[in-house]
């Protein structure tokens, strides 16, 4: 019987090819979209973690409340003991202090007069010890375009794009004009060691990377840092573990009455990504639902025209004694076969496209020219085990629903009318 149905399916293209193509197309889009969103999302999470907040982040309570203004007057002090205790207590993370700062970078001419000037946003990180996790987290070595890596105090890395704008070369001097943590003007002379390109829009437009100790000196914040960031050693953001660690830390250290007491936040809470992540999550859910509904309607319609075309066949089958339920079930089996075949084809194509974009990436840099989102210019889709499964949900559900609804007509057929219906 299955053979018989299959033969009919293959020979009657309008009954197989059309629904097959719809399912395959819908499934392909679902699969691709899912892989693309997960790729974009994890890229965004990774960039945000690496360049801004870490997977978890310790700040003073007051700093955390205004973190977007980088209020270094509220920075953590005596960080060495804090970093030490973090390293001891939470061993599956790297811990490293950072100072984020804003300021003006001034490029002098030979006489010491200002030649070029530009606002910059910088981070002071531990650059001078070889075992610093920053090398890996900030991806510094591969990002180097010109010059060399900083090897001593007073050296600075500058974004390649910014360097071109300021017409500076590695080896030239630059003066950072910023403010100390006590609010007075601060000047600090750097030598530009090299230029870097991170492939993340906001970093490439205005970032400088200085050594933490230099920044502490420049900003008059000995033993101080705006943030201590923690990275899981596998470089993946584990939301639940991050929450647990933050909870554990805050129970032990947070004194609500003291605005300078340290508080730990997670990537999700600190970055302001929380809403965004939720939004993307529900967005994917909504898209999936729309696919299922739209595809079901199209397939229901295809099923309806199909059963109109097959009115005679169904009538005949009922007349020669096939039970109604059997006819209905055979329609469902047919649709299931199409659903499975379409889902497999759609998944294969979707995964193939996603995989291509995982390997080659897709450059969205030009679209993100003015974005402050910490998202990589080259987005890569991300194929995960779930990518292979997710398409089957809309693929099979939609064909099944479509057939189930359009097939109800079979039950409405009255055998007493069959002779007359089959005469015309």
């Amino acid at each position: 019987m299955i053979n018989f149905l299959l033969k009919g399916l293959f020979r009657d293209r309008s009954r197989s090819l059309f629904p097959f193509l719809i399912v395959a197309a819908g499934v392909m889009l679902t699969v691709f979209l899912h892989a693309w969103l997960s790729g974009a999302l994890s890229s965004m999470i990774q960039s945000t973690a690496h360049y801004r907040t870490g997977h978890v982040c310790v700040m003073t309570k007051a700093y955390s409340e205004k973190a977007d203004q980088v209020p270094n007057d509220l920075a953590l002090l005596a960080i060495d003991t804090l970093v030490m205790s973090l390293r001891q207590r939470y061993t599956d993370l790297f811990w490293t202090p950072r100072i984020s700062f804003g300021g003006l970078l001034d490029i002098p001419d030979e006489k010491g007069e200002t030649k070029e000037q530009s606002p910059v946003s910088g981070i002071g990180v531990n650059l001078l010890s070889a075992d610093s996790p920053e090398w890996k987290m900030l991806n510094i070595r591969p990002a180097l375009v010109r010059g060399q890596l900083p090897s001593q105090h007073g050296e600075l890395l500058i974004a390649e794009e910014l360097a071109r704008k300021l017409h500076v070369q590695p080896g030239q001097k630059a003066t950072l004009i910023t403010s100390t943590m006590y609010g007075s003007m601060a000047y600090f002379n750097f030598t530009i060691a090299g230029t870097v390109r991170f492939g993340v829009g906001p970093m490439d437009r205005s970032a400088i990377i200085a050594d933490l100790a230099d920044m502490q000196q420049a900003m008059d914040m000995q033993q101080g840092a705006g943030e201590i960031v923690g990275f899981f050693k596998d470089d993946l953001y584990h939301e639940e573990r991050a929450n647990a660690i933050a909870r554990d830390f805050n129970v032990a250290n947070l004194k609500p009455s003291d605005k300078f007491s340290p508080i730990m936040g997670t990537l999700r809470t600190v970055s302001g990504l929380a809403d965004y992540l939720d939004y993307v999550g529900s967005f994917s859910g909504i898209i999936l639902t729309i696919f299922v509904v739209a595809m079901s309607i199209v397939l229901w319609n295809a099923g309806l025209t199909g059963s109109l075309r097959r009115y005679g066949e169904i009538g005949l089958r009922l007349a020669i004694g096939e039970e109604t339920g059997h006819v209905y079930r055979s329609m469902m089996v047919e649709s299931l076969m199409i659903g499975i075949a379409g889902s497999m084809a759609g998944t294969a194509i979707g995964v193939a496209i996603a995989y291509y974009l995982q390997v080659h990436g897709f450059d969205i840099g030009s679209m993100m020219k003015n974005s402050t989102m910490m998202i990589s210019d080259v987005i890569r889709a991300q194929v995960e085990p779930f990518t292979f499964v997710i398409g089957f949900l809309p693929g099979i559900l939609a064909t099944f629903l479509g057939a189930a609804i359009s097939g109800i007509g079979i039950y409405k057929r009255q055998t007493s009318q069959l002779f007359k219906e089959l005469e015309t």
Partner: protein, 244 residues
């Protein structure tokens, strides 16, 4: 063209296959009702070759419907192959049709995507008969109707007469006790009509299959051995005719 096997011999010729008693079929018609069958008392024996004749609207199709368990009577009873049609469930009725009754329609209703062979094979698939036996039976049936050489053709490649012969093969392939045909020649020319009727006559003779026709067609009436005339849902005449 003669069947290879004689599973049934016409020895049971006088046993009753169909019996109706005071059979009524009433349709609602607006505020009134319409009596499509009016106290039909009828007994049909195994092996008969019988025609229901009468003017349009006289109730031929309605009666065929009830005998074929596609519809049930309003009152009275219809017993077909020992089963009371009025008390059959939907699925019991389907099973009765599936196993014991073959249908032939005015339009042949072959399934266009399947070959002649597959069209004839379909009722056997429903009965769950295995493939080697199916093949023998289908080829037998196609031989009976003279279309063994067209087994691989598609319905679209056949003439009307050939299509109707395929439909006959499909009705007969499961060797049902009873074949019901509503206006089987209505779409055929004279020559094909005669061909069809001869084919069915032969099957009636060789397999002892009972045939009941509903028809206006004088050519069909010429072949039947018993002619029951319906007028306004009543049996008006019930005549035996000589074999031609």
């Amino acid at each position: 063209m003669a069947p290879r096997t004689h599973s049934t011999t016409p020895e049971t010729k006088n046993s009753t296959l169909i019996r109706t008693e005071n059979l009524d079929k009433i349709y609602p018609l607006g505020l009134n009702t319409l009596k499509a069958l009016n106290h039909v008392n009828l007994s049909i024996s195994k092996g008969e070759f019988l025609g229901l004749v009468g003017p349009s609207g006289s109730g031929k199709t309605t009666l065929l419907n009830i005998i074929g368990s596609l519809d049930s009577p309003t009152s009275g009873s219809a017993e077909v192959l020992g089963r009371k049609i009025e008390s059959l469930s939907h699925n019991d009725a389907a099973r009765l049709r599936n196993k014991h009754i073959g249908f032939i329609f005015q339009t042949y209703n072959l399934l266009p995507v399947y070959t002649v062979f597959e069209n004839v094979e379909f009722p056997l698939l429903l009965l769950g008969i295995d493939s080697s036996l199916r093949k023998i039976r289908v080829m037998d049936a196609l031989e009976w109707v003279g279309l063994a050489d067209r087994a691989d053709s598609k319905p679209a490649q056949l003439s009307g007469g050939q299509s109707q012969r395929v439909a006959i093969a499909r009705a007969i392939v499961k060797r049902p006790e009873l074949v019901l045909a509503d206006e089987p020649t209505a779409n055929l020319d004279a020559e094909n009509s005669h061909h069809i009727m001869k084919t069915m006559q032969q099957l009636n003779k060789d397999l002892a299959t009972t045939f009941v026709f509903a028809t206006h067609d004088e050519k069909v009436i010429g072949y039947v051995r018993r002619k029951i005339s319906l007028v306004d849902g009543r049996i008006e005449k019930d005549e035996k005719q000589p074999r031609r």
